[in-house]
Amino acid sequence: MNRFVRMTLAVGATLALTQALAVTRGGTLVYGRYADSLFLDPVLNDANLDIWILTNLYDTLLQPSSNGKGVQPGLATNYTVSSDGRSLKLTLRPGIKFADGSAITAQDVKWSLDRARKPDNGDWSGSLASIDSITASGGTVTLALKRPDPTLPAALATFNAAIMPQKLFEAAPGKNDAEKAKAFAEKPIGSGPFVLSDWKRGSSMTLKRNPYYWKKGADGKALPYLDAIRFEIIPDDNTRILKLQSGEIQGAEFIPLARVNELKANPKLNMQLFPSTKVNNILMNNRPKLNNGSANPLSDVRVRQALNYATNKDALIQIVTYGTGKPMKSYMSSTTPLYDTTQKGYPYDLAKAKQLLAAAGFANGFEVSCLATSGSADDLALLTALQQMWGAVGVRLKIEQLDAASKTARYRANDFQMRTAAWTNDINDPSQITTYYAIYDNVESVHTGFKNAELEKIFAQSQQETSRVKRAAQYRQIQSIYMNAAPIVFLYETPYPVALQKNVKGFVQIPLGNNIFTETYLDK
């Protein structure tokens, strides 16, 4: 080691130490949410309002890494996959405890995973479907698999695979799992960094520090740094921002993108744009006929491609996302593992769009209608801009505004020509979005009706492919086929906009959307 390297290391160590010493413990962070959680059972819920805060209450064996690309240790210190890919062995962290101080045993792990993978128990059992049986002994848990499953580590880092205390859950009142879950979720005990201490539905939720949490902070003592987090439910965007500006709250989620630049300029605030897995797009009905029996121009791939070429994404990013978005170049976000960086997407090219439309027999354009969510300023801004853009190639866009539930009902009945849509991943793996967007048998490829035999064959192989390199190659093919077929109008990716007081440090919203307060502290 030469002197320069030694000196650099010494400076680095000093800096790290200074930073560690600078961490402040204690205090309550008040965080403004736009809506309250609904139901705090990890297995039986399916709403982002719950999912995005659940990991603060319930820890998992593995955790999603904060860049969204992989997993890191959680309640398990490590995992190994057997050479034939048919078994996965996890080593539990010694001395781990639930928030009530009782020990987390291998039996709790087995019971939790068995509950989560039971078919018909919640909507997420499929993520653990490759597990054949689970054996628990001492500090290890072994999962015997029906087939090799490259998605399993990511699935074990997902909220539904949270480890729960079997005894406490079973002691909860109720005749069956669903009733016990309701009772348990009123005052849940998990092993996340925080534990629920008070919940006034629709108004506020207070999480207290879990003194038994396993992870150590920069100062060598147990995390979390905060004594408590109080979520205040403030549905109105303006009010949430006013409360933040006046210092009544220290953080606010879902800042409207229109106000990001204004808050960035505020010296008291730290306007964060966390990279997300959110893709915004327009789903097209790819079927030859619409529900009313009329012919559907969107069934022609050339028409779908033409609309993609006629979409000026850079302009939309300015108009709708105020410059915060970036163009979609695959159906999955660029933050998704195995996203193919060589994808080009559809550049804005009016000449090509006209040429494709003419080839499809629509030189004079056609009329098309798109469902939008009523009251959504973003939908309206987007679609009125698209009216102008597509008007240039003769396509006349009609906007049909519906409330969310009516829109969903029409969508489920395949009774639409186009609709606005957005997606975020819940698991650090591309298989989830692929199953929904590209595989017909699940939900008819998000009801577009898109079906491609070659893509489905490659996908089936990728679901058992344990080599990451080979799986990446398969996903490159999948993304190329999908891009060519253009079942959707590719728009843009948008970040999670969170505004914090300047003294709030160490908060992160990971690309999946989970709010991580484990290492958050209030600087003096």
């Binding site: 439910i233 403030i234 009010t239 969310a404 539930a405 009516s406 939900v443």
Partner: protein
């Protein structure tokens, strides 16, 4: 006489209740979409939706669903929220006091604002004072509630920091403090409505012979105003106040959203968007009873102010 009248009126609530019960039960089911789809969002597969519908009892024929709903209601059970998984009664018990507090607070502020200003405007009629008072409230009436709310929030909350920005607070003092701006928003609107009626009523009464007589007896003008003029002028205003308070109970939705108040108005809106049938049904029934009660009280006060009104 009065007791039988009250009893009779209370009994009249029962058919209203039943009518509301049937209508709301059918209406929510006419809305496009259903609770299962609303809970599960866009992603759920048809199998999961079917399963959830079964769990919620929505796979049964509608008459059967209605009978089950009616049977539970007879046992005082409003059912369980399909999205929040807690009993509707508990939600009502948590949220209704908040809205009632806000409503009464707003009504009190509205009356405190309207009565003296109406008297002043009437006494100084057609002067600049009258024009100013009427002008301010005319503008207040024509501005949307959310706009007035935001102006109060920005000026009195954020800029001057006299009041907290939204929330409900703890304890009576906390509630009074936190709810001042939302109550003022609603009260301002209410005062604008009351002021016009009250001013013209006062003007009308002021020209009545018995007022002339009271004055000629040598009574002080304050006494004439409070005992003879206001009492008579208030009659129509009380009815108007009753009608508007009834509307406020379910109608404070925008105010509750802007000021982040966990009341029933917001609960109702969330329930409608979430197609939460039990919550919509339960809240509508609670509103129906409350509004009927408010109207009953209004009529009783009306009768007290105006002995000519017979309880028939």
């Amino acid at each position: 006489m009065r007791a039988t009248y009250v009893l009779k009126r209370l009994l009249q609530i029962i058919p209203t209740f039943i009518a509301v019960m049937v209508i709301v039960f059918l209406l929510v089911r006419l809305l496009p979409g259903d609770p299962a789809s609303a809970i599960l969002g866009d992603r759920a597969t048809p199998e999961i939706i079917e399963r959830t519908k079964r769990e919620l009892g929505l796979d049964r024929p509608i008459p059967v669903q209605f009978l089950l709903f009616a049977e539970r209601l007879l046992h005082g059970d409003l059912g369980e929220s399909s999205s929040l998984k807690v009993p509707v009664l508990r939600l009502v018990a948590e949220r209704l006091p908040v809205t009632l507090f806000l409503t009464v607070y707003a009504a009190v502020l509205g009356v405190i604002l309207a009565v003296p200003l109406a008297v002043l405007a009437a006494v100084r009629r057609n002067t600049w004072v009258d024009s100013l008072i009427r002008g301010i409230f005319q503008v207040g009436l024509s501005l949307p509630v959310f706009y007035v709310a935001l102006q109060f929030l920005t000026l009195l909350g954020a800029k001057l920091a006299w009041f907290p920005i939204g929330g409900y607070g703890e304890g009576l003092g906390g509630h009074l403090y936190h709810l001042f701006l939302p109550a003022l928003t609603l009260g301002f609107n209410l005062a604008a409505i009351l002021l016009r009626t009250l001013r013209s009523a006062i003007l009308e009464v002021l020209t009545a012979e018995y007022v002339e007589f009271a004055r000629s007896k040598g009574l002080k003008s304050a006494v004439v105003m409070s005992r003879h003029v206001l009492r008579n002028a208030m009659i129509s205003t009380v009815t108007l106040l009753g009608l508007n308070v009834g509307a406020l109970i379910g109608g404070a939705v925008i105010t509750e959203s802007v000021f982040a108040i966990p009341g029933v108005g917001r609960l109702m809106i969330d329930a409608i968007f979430g197609r939460d049938y039990p919550v919509i049904q339960g809240l509508t029934l609670v509103f129906a009873v409350l509004v009927s009660l408010v109207f009953l009280v209004t009529d009783l006060v009306h009768a007290r102010l105006d002995p000519r009104v017979e309880h028939a």
